[in-house]
């Protein structure tokens, strides 16, 4: 019997018991669709997180002041302002592998345009900021070095701020009020979306860091909240961190026994943690889904055993008219496999639709990879063959004389 005839006979046998075949398939359908949907959501999350981390900027390292501890109690990063803009200047002057650097002075403030207002984050930075954050202008232009030196009252608006206080109106060239002082809008930023931890990155206005210090905070000090550094390459991370630490310790005149009065944070750790967490989740869910697939396989085995018993006389007859054990084995094996693969096709379709629905209704990103689909497909065939083998083998081993007499 050739393989096409065998498949045809298998389909015919399955169609003879439509309800039973469908119920048996259901195990595989649920298993495969669960695998597909779970992997799609998991991979979608990974892709999204990677994208968000990418959106934070290129090869970022952030230095926070403080990290002071007294009597064994750590106050954490930022608990004391010891970091200055000149530290930043020193770093780019003396350390290697630094592409760009910017001090950051952050402050919440109310911004007003005509009768509309919004509470937002004011970011004081220098002209390297866009390059470091991997950010583009949407309209207008960024401020110049002269604006930094002169602490001029200019600003660039994030997309959310534009939406809230300008709506459809073009903000470039307009004057807005921050802390009741007039600021000229030089340009607007491209929309960046939310960060990995859910914060809206577009709810921001950007201006020279000196403006934030001198004008908004009314301070003559050079202290800043952070220094953000963009490295030439992430491979140089450890080396750069060491150099920066040594330099800052020297500049801050720390004794060898004293703890660092600053802390250095880089995104690789965050990236690693987040991707590992999401991978673990995917793996876990995948295992659960695989178990349901296993249960589906057992269902197939069960129903095939019933089918073999039920069709003992048919098997005897087929043997009497010339079927070899091999032919009978193939027949039942193909039947189990066809069952599993059809289940796999339905399951893949259902899983894909499910993933798309999840994406639509919960705003979760999903990513259906071709690999996952192929894998699910192959997996269902493997389930069919492996769980179909035992029943098929039992059928092939039947003695035709006894099988023909079976009641």
């Amino acid at each position: 019997m050739d393989i096409f005839t065998t498949i045809r006979v298998a389909l015919w046998a399955l169609l003879r018991n439509k309800v039973r075949s469908f119920l048996t398939m259901l195990g595989i359908i649920i298993g495969i669709s669960a695998v597909i949907a779970v992997v799609a959501v998991g991979e979608g999350a990974t892709v999204m997180i990677k994208g968000q981390i990418q959106s934070m900027g290129n090869n970022l390292v952030t230095i926070f002041p403080g990290n002071m501890s007294r009597g064994g109690v750590s106050f954490g990063g930022g608990s004391r302002s010891t970091l200055t803009a000149s530290d930043g200047d020193a770093i780019i002057r003396e350390c290697s592998n630094i592409k760009a650097i910017t001090p950051v002075n952050r402050r919440g403030a109310q911004v007003i345009f005509q009768e509309k207002n919004s509470w937002t984050m004011v970011m004081g930075v220098n002209t390297s900021y866009l390059e470091i954050r991997n950010w583009q202008m949407s309209s207008g232009s960024f401020f110049q070095d002269s604006d930094v030196t002169g602490a001029t009252k200019v600003c660039i608006l994030g997309a959310t701020v534009v939406e809230e206080i300008f709506g459809v109106e073009d903000p470039v060239g307009q004057i807005i009020r921050v802390k009741n002082m007039p600021f000229r809008v030089l340009g607007t930023l491209e929309k960046k979306g939310s960060a990995a931890w859910g914060q809206d990155q577009d709810d921001v206005i950007v201006m020279p860091w000196t403006t934030v210090s001198r004008v908004i905070q009314n301070s003559q000090l050079n202290e800043v909240n952070q220094v953000i550094i963009s490295l030439t390459s992430m491979d140089m991370l450890e080396k750069a961190k060491k150099e920066i630490t040594a330099l800052l310790r020297e500049r801050h005149k720390l004794t060898p026994s004293a703890e660092d009065d600053f802390s250095i944070m880089d995104v690789t750790e965050v990236t690693k943690t987040i991707t590992e967490t999401s991978r673990t989740m995917t793996l876990l869910l995948g295992i659960i889904a695989s178990i349901s697939l296993l249960v589906g396989g057992i269902g197939i085995m069960n129903i095939m055993l019933v089918s073999v018993t039920e069709r003992t006389r048919e098997i005897g007859l087929r043997m009497a008219v010339g079927a070899r054990g091999k032919d009978i084995l193939m027949q039942f094996l193909v039947e189990a496999t066809v069952l599993a693969v059809i289940g796999g096709i339905f399951g893949t379709t259902l899983g894909t639709i499910g993933a798309k629905l999840i994406a639509q209704f919960s705003n979760w990103p999903v990513f259906i990879s071709v690999n996952a689909v192929l894998l699910a497909f192959v997996f269902s065939a493997v389930v069919g063959v492996s769980f179909g083998f035992f029943p098929a083998w039992r059928a092939a081993r039947l003695n035709p004389i006894e099988a023909l007499r079976y009641e």
């Binding site: 006979v9 007859l317 087929r318 008219v321 079927a323 070899r324 032919d327 035709p400």
Partner: protein, 223 residues
């Protein structure tokens, strides 16, 4: 000589005890014969039929079918011989349910040959017409009478043009009128040149045979 059984024995081992079902039977069957093997249940006639039908191998002795020694063949070779040279007709018809008469008849052609589906169909139609079921080929067994079902089974046994047709109590499940019709069909087929061996305990059935062999306690009583 189509079939030559030479001192055939079949011994079943039940626990420690050996039970001989067939003992030293020698039997020749010529091509074109219509013969009956008669005996009560437990006489060994079914075992004899299984051996002649290549479903079972003898424990002792030699069996030549159409000049081939069956005794030494493997299971797969036996399956091939059954497919090509032997047609079976059973008491309980053994048709596949929910399957048309035509497809039932096509079944033996699925194994061991390379006919196209068109050729298979043509052959199946031909034998169904030969047994007088040309009008009911698309019917399923449940839509056919007992006599008609047995005709489908006979058509199925003929479809691979076997050397010999083995019928095990072919009228056992039929009323006497249908039984008579089936026996007349066998006579008809025999006249057309097919060798037929009937296995029965029923005198009325054996009546149609030109030669009757009586089996008792695993031995041939008269020939």
């Amino acid at each position: 000589m189509l079939i030559k059984l030479d001192k055939i024995s079949k011994i079943y081992h039940v626990g420690e005890v050996d039970i001989p079902a067939v003992r030293d039977i020698s039997l020749d069957i010529n091509a074109g014969e219509l013969m009956a093997i008669m005996g009560a249940s437990g006489s060994g006639k079914t075992t004899l039929m299984n051996i002649i039908g290549c479903l079972d191998r003898p424990s002792k002795g030699r069996y030549l079918l159409d000049g081939q020694d069956i005794t030494t063949m493997s299971k797969n070779e036996l399956a091939y011989v059954r497919n090509k040279k032997i047609g079976f007709v059973f008491q309980s018809f053994n048709l596949l349910s929910r399957t048309s008469a035509l497809e039932n008849v096509e079944l033996p052609m699925f194994y061991g040959n390379n006919l196209t589906s068109r050729q298979k169909r043509a052959r199946a139609v031909e034998v169904l017409e030969r047994v007088g079921l040309g009008q009911r080929m698309k019917h399923h067994p449940s839509q056919l009478s007992g006599g008609e079902q047995q005709r489908v089974a006979i058509a199925r046994s003929l479809v691979n043009q076997p050397k010999i047709l083995l019928a095990d109590e072919p009228t056992g499940n039929l009323d006497s009128k249908r039984g008579k019709e089936i026996m007349e069909l066998f006579q008809q087929l025999n006249k057309e040149g097919i060798t037929i061996v009937l296995i029965t305990h029923d005198k009325d059935t054996a009546f149609y045979a030109r030669r009757v062999v009586h089996v008792k306690d695993g031995l041939i009583v008269n020939n």
